[in-house]
Symmetry: C2
Subunit: 346 residues, 2 copies
């Protein structure tokens, strides 16, 4: 036996009514007699009737669900963002469907396609660090899919973007170093073409300039981390710590970079912040516990998720209103045309 739920048809058959009567009774329509209403409602409750959301979706051309594409669910930054997204979706009556890109461009495309093929009303997405070609996103957008880009945002003029104030965070972190006497500050960032990277590096260089410290390009490191974050960071750290102009501080501009730098320092017995200052972007709750001397720039992932979800749902629902309005106009036109034809005929 499989899960067989009761339908309007079943209720109608059981009570000797038509499906339309039952449907109207369930929706508490004014044109149904109180007795019938009561009968139907009672039967529905007793038999635990639930409208079939799929039939509803087909009819209403919407699914009441939103898709979320992140590179990795188990990344604490994204899981917190999803948490925020889910909380908003729940409030507004939407389902959340999750997909991962695993930082793989091909998987990103196929996941977006999958979500887009009319099973979701809108998509929240964070592009993978591999992604520099955004035509797949643009294509979806042109076809009218509701999209909101978050965290690692795409920079199209007309797609909503939600991200933390990376510039400000990096600026403040760098200033924090300078005020504490550090001057040779290295910056380790993600892939250079990502907007978050540009913003963070921008804040870093601006802070240096504002304090009359020359920006040394050799002190800015980018990484692509195709799954091997630690090894990549270890390479960068080795490189950085073995130059003649060794940095005295490091700005680690992402969660994974921060923890990797921490791990490297621990393995190499590099004391923080005595031998090298460190400010890291992080969401991992334990960071301050494990390395009390580490200054952390908290990324408000949960709030970002909430804001992005609110934006997307607002977009979905406003577009639906416009559509409804257009339908009314169209219907009126058709009606007028029909009646004028009627007049012309006899």
């Amino acid at each position: 036996m499989r899960f067989e739920a009761i339908t309007i048809k079943d209720i109608a058959k059981a009570l000797g009514l038509s499906t339309s009567t039952v449907s109207r009774a369930l929706r508490d329509s004014y044109e149904i007699s109180p007795e019938t209403k009561e009968k139907v409602l009672l039967y529905a409750k007793e038999n635990n009737y639930r409208p079939n959301p799929i039939a509803l979706s087909l009819k209403e051309k919407r699914s009441s669900s939103i898709g979320v594409l992140v590179c990795e669910i188990a990344n604490s930054f994204f899981s917190q963002a999803i948490n925020g997204i889910e909380s908003v979706a729940q409030e507004k009556g939407y389902n959340v469907i999750i997909a991962q890109s695993k930082d793989d461009f091909e998987k990103e495309i196929s996941s977006l396609q999958y979500l887009a093929s009319r099973s979701v009303d809108g998509i929240l997405f964070s592009v993978s660090s591999e992604t520099s070609d955004f035509s797949h996103v643009q294509h979806l957008h042109q076809r009218g899919m509701n999209l909101v880009s978050f965290d690692r945002v795409v920079d199209f003029a007309d797609i909503h973007k939600v991200s933390v104030d990376n510039y400000k965070a990096a600026y403040e972190a760098t200033t924090h170093f300078i005020k504490n006497g550090y001057t040779k500050i290295a910056c380790i960032a993600n892939a250079s073409y990502l907007s978050i990277t540009k913003e963070r590096v921008g804040g870093y260089t601006a802070a240096l300039k504002d304090h009359n410290i020359a920006v040394n390009p050799d002190n800015i490191f980018f990484c692509l981390h195709g799954g091997l974050v630690y090894e990549e960071i270890a390479d960068i750290m080795f490189q950085a710590m073995n130059t003649k102009n060794k940095p005295d501080a490091i700005l680690a501009t992402s969660d994974k970079i921060t923890t990797s730098v921490l791990r490297y320092c621990q393995q190499q017995n590099i004391a923080i912040p005595k031998q090298v200052g460190l400010v890291g972007f992080s969401n991992v709750e334990l960071t301050d516990l494990l390395a009390p001397s580490l200054t952390v720039v908290k990324q408000p992932a949960y709030e970002m998720g909430r804001i992005a979800a609110e934006l997307l749902i607002k977009q979905i629902e406003s577009k639906r209103q416009i559509k409804d309005f257009e339908d009314v106009v169209l219907a009126t036109e058709l009606h007028q045309r029909a009646s004028s034809e009627k007049k012309a005929k006899p």
Copy 2:
């Protein structure tokens, strides 16, 4: 303009064919001429045709999606489990729909109802720590919903359960203490009625007994943590560390408990493992980084998620086969009845 995708009907109209021909051409049916097939396939590709999964769901009475109910997405244990679930779902062509119970019994019921109302083919769930009444789950099960219980499992005979070997893990952790000279070992566990708690405490007491150490009930602490984990653990720690028979080691039997104990020890300047030994269950990748002296029992959340998802999908698909078989039998019967009636008639 909203997202308007092309349908079979559109293709049929454009090519002057019927919808069924197009449908069959797309499914590469043998009864369609090569030329027609080619025409249809070409047009479909050019116009980026995607079948509407919702219409398919309605027709096939399945949604190709599975629901996952956890208490908190942002909990690293669950986000890793979801990661595993998603990877299997992806392989098998299923969507993953996420719901959170936030450790709230009412929310757990409503989320399950929501997922169950025919929008998912099966549900993977981990009950909230508040849950001791399982009638909502049992009800779903009786109605034929595919269910797999994971992590915090329910103990019905006929619902699949997937969880880590908690007994063994706790047994080995406790033995580890004993071999290292600790004898006054306290155990901090979750709510006492949870199966995972019973297993973990069972492993702990068994290890003590097997090494001829008396089990002291005062050394076993349970917590319910309705959102305030740290405060609760801090209370327990204070209580434990201020008895005349102060424990020399602590077995922390969950992720959150482990990190809370760590935090408490740090705040109170209790050195680990010199003043107090600690073995913690954990999934947080940083644990070994921040407290190198901490022994960690890794919980294979990802693998658990994969196994649970595989089990659920297998269940869904085998049940579908049975249903198909029954349909064939039924159809044959109807056919035979119809033909015998035909014979009887003239």
